[in-house]
């Protein structure tokens, strides 16, 4: 007996970074969308450190932005300190990092959610997902309300089966004081998904008025102040404040070592695997015993609060040890802790159970996004959320799913790594994961993705107009440089040679000249080689294109190979166990991953080219089509499937 029921196209469960981007993306494409959250107050909550971006991460944020998402805009509205990382290195590995005011960030996200057409928000805990005949039909809430939809996106983060550890005591709970979603966790554990445990942690928070900032090193943001969104110009930023840098010392390390017997990690209370790149302070002290000191970034939580986030001392030691270790640091002698640090263990679903669209393989219409898939970080969560929301809406509309390739976006790398390889630690993006990072830059995320986003219905008219104008100036600038001849002996040539210390032996053009390591766009500008009406941003873009030209062309050849392998589908019914010539280890890995394409199979660790050949041939035998590669449309049961099976039986007999 149902008390109340409503019907939507897409239901999103969870209002974190994945859930909000999912709901916004689905609604942007025109799907009637419902966002269900345990608390409207915490929509867009930053539950870990108050910062967005960083290497690899700001690349994702820019991509979200290029796809019309919210994260970059909210960061620009909430950021209180912006820095460009790797500014002295090349453009491909430059990144933007922002400290964000938690309250302003939540406010910006909530504002965008409320302003979004086709989107309803409702505060209720979900206790069940209704599934009939392998298809999702809707959800049931704690008070018995029923919401129906043919597509549901689940983004419950660390709430599923959450367990919080402080010292040797522990209790059930979600992030930052929220309740754990245990009813839903129980329900999901009963479904055919592989569940595993991960762990993450936070540091104790500190009252700013008890810290002696004069004894810490201030770190101000960059001038001019960077922006996150392609739509921003910096006028969106609130007042800017500095972070501070503190350090642990020998006394801190002694206190930690003395408290190790009460650490849940070292006492074996925690079964989940923590990230290698974000170790707790006790981990760092034990593993790198020779280091006399570790850096601590003291980050402001916001403009209207004096609470601080000491980034670098995440811990699950007992409170009394946390208290002592904080007070052992210079400048923190009188410090008061406002919230204790803790480790949280939570359930995640093996992402190898997902399609690249983030739809689960087991239940049609059910999508997973964010930490539930084993990732960490707001940016990773938001990017998945956007993709899942988009694809949920596309499924309901009867359109094919869309996922960018590894060569198109960090989002493509993220999803491909997850669904192909799975993860055994919270997965975080790094630029070294992206083999095509020279083309996947934060500066060109819009050039890479906004055109397709426009086709997908994710981008509104104002963003599109702005993008088209920018693209046109870049094209004009490139054309102008390519059209400007540089003849040995000419005035221009002499000026440039003198300025750059280069020699022009035979006629070239400005674009090719710019490819030389010793030449910059600024040199061209200073020598009067480019027209004054070519804007700096366009000239920079052309400079990047020139500098990376040879490398990008080499990568293009690799990508062509990759695409050919992507076109070869591996049938789901392919029985890896029966393939002669594959090692047992590979059989096991392939059976688990069930890669959809030959390209995905090629990225499974330990695979050899010979093994790929075997897969290709077996796939082709199974589909039994003559004269063309095995493509999606060939996946219907093939004529020769039966004889092939008989042959296999004969061979094994």
């Amino acid at each position: 007996m149902t008390l109340h029921s409503e019907t939507y196209d897409v239901i999103v469960i969870g209002g974190g970074h994945a859930g909000t981007e999912a709901a916004l993306a689905a609604a942007r494409t025109g799907a009637s969308t419902l966002l269900l959250t345990q608390s409207i107050e915490t929509l867009g909550q930053m539950s870990c450190n108050p910062a967005i971006g960083g290497i690899g991460k700001s690349h994702l944020v820019r991509e979200i932005d290029a796809l019309g998402g919210a994260m970059a805009l909210a960061t620009d509205a909430a950021g209180i300190q912006f820095r460009t990382l790797n500014a002295s290195k090349g453009p491909a590995v430059r990144a933007t990092r922002a400290q964000a005011d938690r309250t302003l960030y939540r406010k910006a996200i909530r504002h965008m959610l409320e302003a979004q057409e086709n989107l309803a928000i409702f505060q209720q805990s979900v206790v069940d997902i209704e599934i009939r005949k392998g298809r999702v039909e809707g959800v049931l809430t704690a008070v018995g309300l029923e919401f129906s939809a043919p597509a549901v996106v689940l983004t419950t983060g660390t709430f599923l089966g959450g367990r919080i550890h402080i010292g040797l005591s522990n209790h059930a709970g979600g992030r930052a004081g929220d309740p754990a979603s245990n009813a839903l966790a129980e329900r999901l554990r009963a479904l055919p998904f592989a569940v595993d445990r991960l762990k993450t942690g936070t540091p104790p928070r500190i009252a700013g008025d008890t810290v002696d900032f004069d004894r810490l090193k201030p770190q101000w943001g960059d001038e001019p102040c960077p922006v996150m969104s392609f739509m921003s110009d910096g006028s969106e930023h609130p007042r800017q404040v500095p972070c501070h840098i503190a350090a642990t010392n020998a006394e801190t390390h002694r206190i930690i070592r003395d408290g190790l017997d009460r650490s849940p990690m070292f006492a074996g209370e925690i079964e989940g695997v923590g990230p290698r790149y974000c170790p707790s302070i006790e981990d760092k002290v034990v593993r790198f015993a020779d280091r006399a000191s570790h850096q601590v970034f003291v980050e402001p939580e916001g403009l209207d609060t004096n609470e601080l986030y000491p980034n670098g001392i995440s811990t699950s030691l007992p409170f009394e040890v946390q208290f002592a270790l904080v007070r052992s640091m210079e400048g923190f002698e009188r410090a008061r802790i406002t919230r204790p640090g803790y480790a949280i263990e939570y359930d995640f679903f093996d992402p190898r159970g997902l399609e690249p669209s983030l739809e689960t393989k087991a239940v049609s219409g059910l999508y997973f996004a964010g930490q539930i898939n084993g990732t960490t970080g707001y940016e990773e969560a938001a990017a998945q959320g956007l993709l899942a929301g988009l694809n949920a809406a596309r499924k309901v509309a009867g359109s094919a799913p869309w996922t960018p390739g590894r060569h198109e976006a960090y989002l493509g790398v993220l999803v491909d790594d997850l669904v192909t390889l799975g993860t055994n630690e919270p997965y975080r993006m790094f630029s070294s994961r992206a083999e095509y990072r020279l083309r996947l830059r934060q500066d060109n995320a819009d050039l890479r993705l906004t055109p397709v986003a426009r086709e997908l219905g994710l981008v509104d008219a104002s963003r599109w107009r702005r993008f088209e104008a920018k693209r046109a100036t870049i094209e004009r600038a490139a054309a102008a440089l390519k059209a400007t001849r540089l003849t040995p002996g000419s005035d221009l040539c002499a000026r440039l040679e003198a300025r750059c210390g280069e020699t022009v032996a035979k006629e070239t053009n400005l674009f090719d000249f710019l490819k030389r390591p010793g030449v910059t766009a600024a040199d061209l500008r200073a020598a009067g080689a480019v027209a004054a009406d070519i804007p700096a941003v366009a000239l920079e873009q052309v400079e990047v294109q020139a500098k990376y030209d040879g490398y990008i062309r080499r990568q293009d050849r690799e990508i062509a190979k990759l695409k050919a392998q992507e076109a070869v589908m591996l049938p789901a019914e392919l029985d890896y166990e029966s393939i002669e010539g594959l090692s047992n280890e590979l059989k096991e890995k392939l059976s688990l991953a069930k890669p959809r394409t030959l390209a995905r199979a090629s990225r499974i660790p330990g695979i050899t080219p010979a093994a790929l050949s075997l897969l290709l041939i077996h796939a082709k035998r199974l589909t039994g089509e003559r004269g063309k590669a095995v493509r999606p449309e060939d996946r219907a049961p093939a004529r020769e499937a039966a004889p092939a099976g008989e042959r296999a039986a004969r061979r094994s007999a």
Partner: protein, 442 residues
């Protein structure tokens, strides 16, 4: 072995040795361009054209027949060029080298056939054969790699790959973790380490090219029970009295080898201790060595006494290498020496009768088993070293210009090429190295 590929591949398609005519086959999108550069003319499709083959300076390498098969009407379904030249190994090597310099890469074992299959040039009934071929080519390639990678060579490649990995750990660490207060190597250190890796690599390449580290040629192992005439056969094939021959079973205690030339194909023939159960410790070690030699063999000559029944090697003696049954002592059995059936000959090692038929069998086994030659493993390794060398040189150049991300890209490229020999390292493994080496993370 690449599976679906846009590369243009090339290989010598005829059996190694000094045949009258040798064929170099090219397949892939660059084929028309290569044909043009090589012959200096546009070849009409499917016509045999007698013409000169020219090197990079336009000088004649050889004269012969060129045939261009246009896609899809070719062996592989791609654009295919067949060059029929004079069959000596030197000429064919130069011709292949020229084709590779025009942008093709050396074909992997079985790759032409595989492309034919992928492009629907073989029907399903032939799929079984292709599977067998791939399996066999894989075994061949693996054996080739084992031989080429034996001992010192492998150690050197591993050492260089490790140096490159360490460089990558520093470069990638500096890129991905700029906020850590870690002194990832200063640039001068990176420069020094890079120079050291390059020096090691070019030294290794020089020695490898001289053949100092790589065993070359066909590895033929003579095996069988004691006293069936294995050592006599070694002496007969090599044309010298290398092995002591007596009528006492178990005379040969250690493996013995000799090099000889089989119609232009270099062959190393290895004599082994007779396989039998024995309590003699020295002889047992000799037998163990015999088994190891057989495992690395391209061709095993399994010698039996023609007066006895049976023939095939059993149990441990079965290695997966091409095996030729050699029924020796025809003088004593009184049967006629010569070919018996494919893979079996009767000879008399003492008089030399039937040894010609054996030579033919060896060539067959060497040349045609895997579709393409078995010497490619060694050549591929040298190609990979050359490509790694080029990438490291580029890295050094970019380092001077202070382009850290391009240095990282060139190092990745170099690492991938070395990885083609000693196993690739994934992005996640690399991150693992970074986290193990440095205290990363807030």
């Amino acid at each position: 072995m690449s599976t679906v590929d846009t590369d243009t591949i090339a290989a010598v398609a005829t059996a190694p040795g000094r045949g009258g005519v040798g064929i170099v086959r090219v397949s892939g999108p660059l084929t028309p361009k290569i044909a043009n550069a090589l012959t200096g003319r546009k070849l009409p499709p499917r016509s045999a054209v007698y013409c000169g083959f020219r090197d990079g300076e336009g000088a004649a390498l050889d004269r012969g027949i060129a045939i261009h098969f246009e896609a899809p009407n070719s062996l592989t379904g791609e654009d295919v060029l067949e060059l029929q030249a004079h069959g000596g190994p030197v000429v064919l090597d130069m011709l292949l080298g020229r084709v590779l310099s025009l942008g093709a890469r050396r074909a992997d074992p079985g790759e032409f056939t595989q492309r034919a299959f992928v492009n629907g040039k073989l029907d399903l009934a032939q799929a079984e054969a292709v599977l067998d071929l791939v399996n066999s080519a894989t075994r061949q390639a693996a054996r080739g790699a084992v031989r080429s990678l034996s001992g010192e060579f492998s150690k050197h490649v591993h050492a260089i790959a490790h140096e490159v990995l360490e460089l990558r750990v520093f470069c990638e660490g500096a890129i991905d973790f700029p906020d850590e207060d870690i002194d990832f190597l200063s640039e001068s250190d990176v420069g020094e380490r890079l120079a050291s890796a390059r020096k090691r690599l070019s030294k290794l390449r020089a020695r490898a090219r001289q053949g100092a580290l790589l065993k070359d040629g066909l590895n033929v192992v003579i095996a069988g029970a004691p006293n069936v005439g294995k050592s006599s056969l070694l002496n007969r094939l090599s044309g010298e009295d290398r092995a002591i021959v007596t009528s006492v079973p178990g005379t040969t205690r250690d493996t013995l080898d000799a090099d000889f030339d089989l119609d232009g194909m270099p062959v190393r023939v290895v004599d082994t201790a007779g396989l039998r159960d024995t309590g003699d410790a020295v002889e047992t070690e000799g037998i163990n060595r015999a088994h190891r030699a057989m495992a690395a063999a391209d061709v095993v000559l399994w010698v039996v006494d023609d007066r006895e029944a049976g023939g095939s090697p059993g149990g441990d003696a079965c290695t997966g290498a091409a095996t030729i049954i050699v029924r020796n002592k025809a003088d004593l059995s009184g049967r006629r020496p010569g070919s018996i059936s494919p893979g079996a000959v009767r000879i008399c090692a003492l008089t030399g009768e039937g040894v010609d038929a054996l030579a033919t069998e060896i060539k067959q086994a060497a040349g045609y088993r895997a579709g393409e030659g078995i010497f490619t493993a060694r050549a591929r390794h040298l190609d990979a070293l050359a490509a790694a060398d080029t990438a490291l040189a580029a890295a050094a150049e970019r380092l001077v210009a202070n382009y850290g991300e391009l240095v990282a890209e060139d190092l990745r490229d170099a690492h991938d090429h070395l990885g083609a020999i000693v196993g690739r390292v994934s992005a996640d493994d690399l991150l693992g190295e970074i986290f193990a080496s440095f205290c990363i993370g807030k």
